[in-house]
Amino acid sequence: MSSPKTLFDKVWQAHEVHRSDSGQSLLWVDRHFVHEGSFHAFNKLSERQLPVARPDLTFGIADHYVPTQARDLAGVADAKVRSMIEQLSHNARQHGVTLFGLEDPRQGIVHVLGPEQGLTQPGMVMVCGDSHTATHGAFGSIAFGIGASEVAHVLATQTLWQSKPKVMRITVDGQLAEGITAKDIALTWIAKLGADGARGYAIEYAGEAIRALSMEARLTLCNLSIEGGGRCGMIAPDQTTFDYLRGRPWCPKGEAFEQACAHWATLCSDPDAEFDLEVVLQADEIAPTVTWGVSPEEALPIDQYVPDPAQLGDPAKARQAQESLAYMGLAAGQKLTDITIDRVFIGSCTNARIEDLRAAAAVLAGRKSRVPGMVSPGSTLVKTQAEAEGLDRIFIDAGLEWRHSGCSMCVGMNGDLVASGERCASTTNRNFKGRQGPGARTHLMSPAMVAAAAISGRLTDVRQLASSSPRASGEPS
């Protein structure tokens, strides 16, 4: 009998074309997503006069630079932004690559669109020139972000050189309490292990609380693997996965789907498989969590206080905290719920799926936001569905802008920016300095928590809001 294997090992081995003397593996790639930023890679291909090896396995998606106020390219004032979207269309056309462009009814953020269209399936190796490609691991794929040179390599050969990472398992035992989300799990483990805590590792998420997550929540969790330094994040496929995939546009149909499911069901870590590192969290110890600093590791439960650098002991940590507080304009010892905000953003590949919008709308229903803000659905199909459910009305009635889908204010490449010095409660993935715009101050949290912050104008524990209806509490409606 062969030795027990992890889920990661099984998928890796099935894709190993060649192993070099130095131990690097040449991996076969099942799906390659390219977006506007891939122009550097297409240029490299042109310089060498090479064709795209497998256009049938390559998919172009416009997301980073697309305007969110309209779907009309002519209306984009910045010629360079317009040109980014045009270059992608041009490259896709030239190389015979399927394109989900600006005006396509299926357009969306690559990490929302891939699963939604059924392009993302268990057991695959998937890559994209975007670090949040880790998202797709929610289906039990090895999915990770690569740089432009590697994108050019995949385009030219449909393979990628990789050194096999170590594998860690993050187990979440027990059941999450009401109001606790995948975002809170992620911010909790990253705060515990550090923003480089999983560096050099592939992560498998396991345990009762993970199994109970919906497909969309699993996508959120795997999406944030990169923020803890992980190479990728994975969850073994199960009935939840198969149910999600059945009938998706790009999935196999009928007999082929059943065949695929039978194989996918074997994709799990064997009971005796050994991991290089094991981390265990208790679900009941996870609270709604927000970031206070400029790295996702600078996160705390909402009932806590901004740390005092003087009390951190370690001089390196104290120095880092001091710098973070200065950038964020916060004082040591300040209560997190006393931090007032200037605007909110609901969107991004982390938290702009239909469940995320429903969660935010449930909190906002019948209430007003005290601050301006923007909601950008993860895909055009999510937008359509949200409108069919009336969620757009809830956001608009609360005073928020209802936009088209795209990466939008998560990264600000399309011109949607937070002004310098402004503080934004965001459902996004990065609170880095300047991420949402030069001088912007970002607090990461779940969609429901952003909605709660919008209503009170400061960071707020959504569990306290949920317990009182707007009328009963006498809040202005």
């Binding site: 099935a14 074309v17 060649h18 130095s22 131990g23 040449l26 076969w28 099942d30 799906r31 930023g37 550097h40 060498r48 090479l50 049938d56 396995l57 630079y65 980014m84 299926r106 269209q117 399936q121 057991g123 695959m124 020139g129 670090s131 972000g145 690569i146 740089g147 432009a148 040179s149 590697e150 390599h153 050969t157 449909q158 393979t159 050189w161 050194s163 550090g194 923003a195 480089d196 560096r199 330094g229 190479r231 546009p249 790009w250 082929a256 695929a260 194989h263 790295s295 390196a316 880092q320 359509t384 600000g412 490449m413 990065r430 880095f432 300095k433 300047g434 991420r435 030069p438 001088g439």
Partner: protein, 212 residues
């Protein structure tokens, strides 16, 4: 790609942890073609004030820093976005090596693919190097064959994966390396697609697309 064996140059200190790729090149510069030279965008918001004037208290703006080919920083350098433009900014500004206790995985791969050495040292060694460079950019020697770094009297070892070291020493490019394996790739693909027939993407019918 230009091989690296030994760098005998100036080193500059960037004493910060978690220098992510959003800081190395802010997103708003990424729509520029590489031909404009990305060096001017390197750490733009760290090096400039809101009026676009260079700030004086950043060592990277020291008059001698323009000659530096080695940067020393703290842990988790290059975390975050996969943007290879972060590496282009360093390379176009003349850097050939970054020294830090740890690097973001994607950043490190990108660095090697552009002939930039990500040299990993201990936290303690990083602090010693930062201290040696605290006043001004100073002479530094990075020896890739011997894997050590010297600044004045201070000498510290560094690590880099064997594969990356070979690539950097020889200036090798991945696409060239892979082209030796094309037959093997074709044979793999044929067998793989037979073994897992459902993996081939099935384009949806026009009816499914329009139903959306």
């Amino acid at each position: 790609m230009k091989p690296i064996t030994l760098l005998d140059t100036l080193g500059v200190a960037l004493p910060a942890a978690n220098v992510d790729t959003d800081q190395l090149i802010p997103a708003r510069f990424m729509k520029e073609p590489r031909s404009v030279g990305y060096g001017q965008f390197l750490l733009y918001d760290v090096r400039h004030d809101e009026q676009g004037q260079r700030v004086s208290n950043v060592m990277l703006n020291h008059p001698m820093a323009s000659q530096a080919e080695v940067m020393v920083s703290r842990r988790n350098f290059g975390a975050g976005s996969s943007r290879e433009a972060a590496v282009y900014a360093l390379v176009d500004d003349g850097f050939r090596c970054v020294v830090a206790p740890s690097f973001g995985d994607i950043f490190a791969s990108n660095a090697v693919n552009n002939g930039l050495l990500p040299a990993v040292v201990t936290e303690e060694a990083a602090e010693q190097l930062l201290q040696a460079l605290a006043e001004a950019p100073a002479p530094i020697v990075v020896d890739l064959e011997a894997q050590h770094i010297r600044v004045g009297e201070l000498s510290v070892p560094f690590s880099v994966s064997a594969v990356w070291r070979t690539k950097l020493l020889n200036g090798w490019d991945d696409i060239d390396m892979t082209r030796q394996h094309l037959e093997k790739i074709d044979a793999f693909a044929a067998h793989y697609e037979q073994q897992f027939p459902w993996v081939a993407p099935v384009p949806p019918s026009a009816e499914i697309i329009s139903r959306g």
